[in-house]
Amino acid sequence: MHVITFTRKMGTNGSEIAQRVAGALHYSLYDTEAIEATAREMGFLEDVQAADEKALSLFQRLFTHQPEVHLDRLNSVIYELASRGNAVFLGRGSHILLRPLICALHVRVTASLETRVHNMMERGMEKDMAIRALHKSDREREAFTKFAFGADWDDSELYDVVFNMDHLSVELAVHTVVHLARSEEIQARSIDAMKSLEMMGLARRAEAALIEAGFFSPALSVSVTEPGKIRVNGVMVTQSAKDRAEAALKRVKGAEFIDNQVRLAVGLEWPQ
């Protein structure tokens, strides 16, 4: 089971490279459309569309928990798709989400502004419009990566290979990734990744379900100790709250057993 993630700046031909790599390796390509199709199957389409690599408003970041729910669900969709194996992902923070899996290869495609403007103009866009679109896209993707993962989009250490398309052809980039993906060293990585992915996806769905059920307390923590088994720890003030949390977790797709370790704080009342 192998996964390749592509992160690209707009106007670098990164999408074309990803498509051609997927084609050459006979892997499934998960671009925006494919990710949304899976999100629809899982009932998370609105969440995934809301977490669309754009910067959030200050209001959204400070006064609602909705962004966290959207992100948790986007993450669970990425994990679900990756667990199917042999996949190429395009964007959506997949390089960071799948970083813990040593079977994943992370590729970044970049280029100078001049090259990117040139590429956009070749597609029929006016120069001024192209420059504005590129700056907007850079700002949004950078802010999304910062907000969602606390990471610097341009940090080379987040990727296994970074291509500068100023002087490289699409063919060369495609060939290089395919060559690397087929190497014995990379092929030897995978193994237990599938199981890990299922568990990571379940944990994210469980966290989102708790937030949506109104449990924002940082005193609650969720973990998936083995496939299908969700453990919840923390402190609550009433038995009914503890039961409601468990009920919310039982409704999560893939949950088979809830290990409810929440303790009741006797005599503690919510402040009025």
């Binding site: 970044r108 100078s112 080379s156 970074v162 291509f163 500068n164 060369l172 060939h175 060293e185």
Partner: protein, 252 residues
């Protein structure tokens, strides 16, 4: 793998001697392009190991390009030799300079040329070596100096601090603390060298054709990735099975 087996002053001298025997036709540019490679690296990301493995890879896959030669530390020796400067000045030309005042005083006393002069001479040597081709230039801002040459491929090796510390401990047999100190000090020195002399940032991905993270991509794999990209970029594939001087014809 013995990462030092393709690296050393004797190999550089042998390369330079063989270059001096090239015919005027070859040197005048009628001969096809001979590629050169620059490798910029974070300390402990495997610069020497990758350079050495890259020599093996290219020698095996492009035999027509005679001998591939790595220039790293020995670049300084080459500069000193080129410019008839005393060997002991090599110590002064580490990839860093700490005190402009000390530099000025020593220059005034006639102990060595100014730092600026030495950097200029190093740059000129790097440029000349890159133009000759079939060289792998490690460090010293070679990617900036040769940035405009069409026959040069630029690679950068990066890695997480933790993995680089592990590599330092394993490859050089030093303890963890020494490895951390060395890595941090050398990284800072290299960044300063680039900033001071070229106003460039080593972390700028646009300075390179490809940046490879050796945390997960092994040294041999990184070498094969760079080697293969060079073969494709300069269309050297047709030469793979060729041999002898006739096989030097590289398609442009």
């Amino acid at each position: 793998m013995d990462m030092w087996k393709n690296i050393g002053l004797s190999k550089c001298i042998s390369f330079i001697e063989s270059e001096s025997r090239r015919t005027s036709k070859e040197v005048s540019g009628e001969e096809a392009v001979r590629p050169a490679i620059t490798i910029s690296r974070m300390t402990g990301a495997g610069g020497y190991a990758v350079a050495s493995a890259l020599v093996d890879y290219l020698q095996a896959h492009v035999p027509s390009c005679d001998k591939w030669t790595v220039f790293d530390h020995n670049l300084v020796e080459k500069v000193l030799d080129d410019h008839h400067i005393q060997k002991r000045i090599g110590d002064f030309m580490e990839e860093d300079h700490k005190s402009m005042l000390r530099d000025s005083v020593e220059e005034w006393l006639g102990l060595h040329p100014s730092w600026w002069t030495m950097v200029q001479k190093t740059n000129a040597t790097i440029l000349r070596l890159a133009q000759m081709g079939c060289v792998i230039l490690v460090g010293r801002g070679a990617m900036v100096i040769t940035g405009r040459l069409k026959n040069v491929f630029h690679a950068r090796l990066v890695g997480s601090l933790e993995k680089r510390i592990e590599y330092g401990v394993r490859a050089y047999g030093v303890d963890r603390k020494k490895a951390i100190d060395f890595i941090k000090k050398t990284d800072e020195a290299r960044k300063r060298y680039l900033k001071d002399n070229f106003d460039a940032d080593a972390d700028d991905a646009l300075l390179y054709h490809v940046t490879i993270n050796t945390d997960l991509v092994g040294h041999d794999e990184a070498a094969s990735l760079i080697g293969d990209a060079v073969i494709r970029r300069f269309n050297l594939a047709g030469q793979r099975r060729a041999s002898g001087s006739e096989s030097r014809a590289v398609q442009r």
